[in-house]
């Protein structure tokens, strides 16, 4: 009853705007779910395709981020570098086998920047399972600070800065966040 009254008092424009916001929220949430699945299933070739050609992908500690220090665990200035990382991790880099599980939540769509690109943040939790231990260990927690852009109608990441709180990495971060 209350909801009906509220709807009745809302103008058509405001309602359209609200619906659009909900659709965008849902679209980004779906994007993040696909992103997590690509990494969890170690389909790095699909992961690469979620970025624009000029994308910035950086994994940086909250310690550095808060102090304006640029050094990142991973620092990719374009899709080529993201592809090189995926290739290296798949084909050359030696590390013990493992499973990862990304949980992404608390999505906040912040609005648009001056170029009209969509700004958003989401929290992430990354669990890691090594095959000789019974526990899924909390490997990293942090926040994605994102800029999305539409290309041929589809959302892509123009920027993803993964700012992690867990400053002490457990030995090595072998797969992307």
């Amino acid at each position: 009853m209350v909801a009906t009254v509220a709807r009745a008092t809302m103008s058509g424009d405001a309602r359209a705007e609200q619906l659009e916001a909900m659709l965008l929220h849902h679209e980004i949430e779906t994007f993040n779910t696909r992103y997590a699945a690509a990494l969890d299933e170690q389909r790095l070739e699909d992961w690469i395709e979620m970025f624009t050609d000029d994308a910035l992908y950086v994994v940086v500690s909250r310690e550095n981020f808060d102090r304006g220090l640029p050094a990142g665990l991973i620092y990719c200035e374009n899709k080529g570098m993201i592809r090189d990382r995926a290739f290296a991790l798949k084909e050359t880099t030696m590390f013990a086998p493992r499973y990862l599980r990304h949980l992404i939540g608390n999505l906040a769509v912040l609005g648009r920047d001056e170029r009209g690109h969509i700004k958003a943040t989401a929290n992430y939790v990354l669990m890691q399972v090594l095959f000789d231990r019974p526990d899924a260990k909390l490997h990293q927690v942090g926040v994605y600070r994102d800029v999305f852009r539409r290309e041929s109608g589809a959302l892509k990441l123009a920027e993803r800065r993964c700012v992690y709180d867990s400053l002490l990495i457990d030995n090595a971060m072998c797969l992307p966040v």
């Binding site: 550095n64 050094a71 200035e77 084909e91 013990a96 971060m173």
Partner: protein
């Protein structure tokens, strides 16, 4: 002192030896022609148990390296032992064999003559206290150390093959670890604590470590840099909690004891009590109750601290050759901080030093190094060690990778033919240093690695955390005056290193595997036999472990092992 029962006479047999403990002191008991003799139970050479040795002609032969000692006097008769065994006074009452740990045997070598105070006639050894009066001679001091309650067993015997083997206990034993903290990190060494560019202004501080011990590095108002333990003089609280920052003083949050920027105790709340009651004793002096302050030195913007007042100057500590490489990287340009990485590594801290004194692995494990010609068997390279075996520099001049011979490729599983990068800028080297090397990895004993991997520069600071784990704190830097493109180049190239780096992941994983192996299949030894033509020290061959052997030669001397 007191006679203590060591054994029952019936446990001894003529011409035999048994091992016992009196208190915590290991003792060897012998019976020769019906008379019982006692010596310290551990060989003065390599910590082997003498009771496992052989008695012949009044001498005991060590089971490990065949050192010979005279049973009656403890005198070392033949190498490798050069130091005499302690021989103790023995008496037999009924079936009890009693010994006096403070009294020398009548036949013991007359060390009393070495006493500086023994100006007159040589003192007799008959009084039970005769031995104690010799305290202060070098051999005596060492002898005392031997009888510390360090539970000495055969466990700590170095393999008979020498430096070409490293026993697992070097990496897995808690007692060894604690001795390393005391003898090495808190000993006469220079420990990295910070870069000056992290503390540009008065009041700036960084929370750091010397070995496992937390310290504060701060810049005082006069510009000087100070290092002191991060432990309140009152109730031990680790008072500084921020990773870095700027303060006018440090205040322990528990009872608000305050410290100035030089680490001096400045204020004690309610020192005089309230209304004439309570408070500190009238004679309490703040000057006597500060945290432990360390000796500090800084070279080209890199700050080091030492627990020892006897440590040599920093330039002498590095030696001329390693200093030259240090100054090639820290070439006088002011440093610019780019950020930190921090990670734990579930392995013994020394394995990281070894990894960077092991050019052999670099040619085999790291695809990026071999495929892009950074460090390939056949490149111009050097594994430099300082003469003492403390510090090392692994250096290589980049080739284009095409010079790798077909034979070498076959040996290197990591070599990827035709591997190219979508963004090859990551592997570009812009020469900027006065050095023939495009890559140098300098290991400065005991806690610093200086990475100059082409243009990506970083400090790695080892913070040991028990025998099985250490923390690595990385400080990435460039130079003031780098333009934006150069800074970005350093950051791009940084993808090679760190706990998510293409090479960094591999080193961390490999070291973890080594510790896993020792913990799960324990009490064996490692082989470090490569390049036997160089016993221990610098080698021009990448297929060499001579630098690791040099490090252990030094480590054993420092550890008394």
């Amino acid at each position: 002192m007191a006679w203590q029962k060591a054994a029952a006479l019936s446990e001894l047999s003529e011409g035999g030896v048994i091992g016992v403990h009196v208190g915590s002191t290991p003792i060897a008991l012998y019976q020769l022609d019906g008379v019982v003799y006692a010596t310290h139970g551990i060989c003065t050479h390599a910590m082997a148990i003498l009771a496992d040795g052989f008695v012949e002609d009044g001498k005991i032969e060590c089971p490990l390296h065949q050192a010979l000692f005279d049973i009656k006097s403890g005198k070392a008769l033949c190498g490798p032992a050069t130091e005499d065994l302690r021989a103790y006074a023995v008496k037999v009452e009924g079936d009890d064999v009693l010994i006096d740990l403070d009294a020398a045997a009548a036949g013991e070598a007359p060390v009393a003559t070495a006493t500086p105070s023994g100006a007159g006639a040589p003192t007799s050894n008959t009084a039970p206290s005769a031995r104690a009066s010799n305290g202060g001679t070098a051999s005596e001091a060492k002898g005392e150390e031997m009888s510390e309650p360090l539970s000495i067993t055969k466990h700590y015997a170095w393999p008979a093959e020498g430096l070409s083997r490293i026993p697992d206990w070097v990496y897995t034993d808690q007692t060894i670890y604690e001795r390393e903290v005391a003898k090495i990190f808190h000993g006469p060494t220079w420990n990295f604590v910070a870069l000056e560019c992290e503390l540009p202004k008065p009041g700036d501080f960084v929370r750091s470590n010397v070995g496992p011990t937390p310290v504060v590095v701060s810049r005082a108002t006069d510009g000087s840099i100070h290092v002191f333990e991060n432990r309140c003089a009152h109730r031990a609280a680790e008072f500084c909690r921020e990773l870095s920052g700027n303060v006018s003083e440090f205040v322990c949050p528990y009872h608000q004891w305050s410290y100035d920027l030089k680490g001096n105790l400045a204020g004690v709340p309610f020192r005089r009590g309230v209304a004439g009651k309570g408070g500190m004793p009238a004679n309490f002096e703040t000057a006597e109750h500060g945290p432990r302050r360390l000796k500090v030195t800084s070279h080209r913007g890199v700050v080091f601290a030492s627990y020892s007042d006897q440590v040599e100057t920093f330039t002498d500590y590095l030696g001329p050759e390693v200093l030259r490489e240090f100054e090639a990287t820290f070439d006088g340009r002011p440093l610019k901080l780019l950020g930190h990485y921090r990670h734990t590594l579930p392995g013994n801290w020394k394995l990281y030093h070894e990894n960077l004194r092991d050019p052999y692995h670099a040619t085999l494990l790291h695809t990026f190094l071999v495929t892009f010609g950074l460090l390939v068997a056949g490149n111009k390279s050097l594994m430099l060690m300082d003469p003492k075996g403390r510090h090392g520099v692994m250096a290589s001049a980049k080739s284009d990778g095409k010079s790798v011979t077909a034979d070498a490729k076959k040996e290197m599983r990591a070599y990827k033919e035709n591997m190219t990068l979508a963004d090859p800028r990551m592997m570009t080297f812009f020469p900027e240093f006065d050095s023939p090397w495009s890559v140098t990895m300098a290991t400065i004993w005991p806690n610093l690695i200086i990475q100059r991997e082409m243009n990506t520069l970083g400090i790695r600071h080892i913070v040991p955390n028990g025998p099985h784990e250490f923390i690595m704190k990385w400080t990435m830097f460039g130079f003031e005056g780098d333009d934006e493109e150069m800074t970005r180049h350093r950051l791009r190239q940084g993808n090679l290193m760190g706990p998510a780096g293409f090479l960094g992941i591999e080193d961390n994983e490999a070291i973890k595997f080594v510790q896993d192996g020792m913990q799960r299949v324990p009490d064996k030894e490692h082989l470090v036999m490569l390049d036997p033509s160089v016993a221990a020290g610098s080698s021009e061959s990448l297929i060499s472990e001579a630098a690791i052997r040099a490090m252990y030669k030094h480590w054993r001397a420092e550890m008394g092992l």
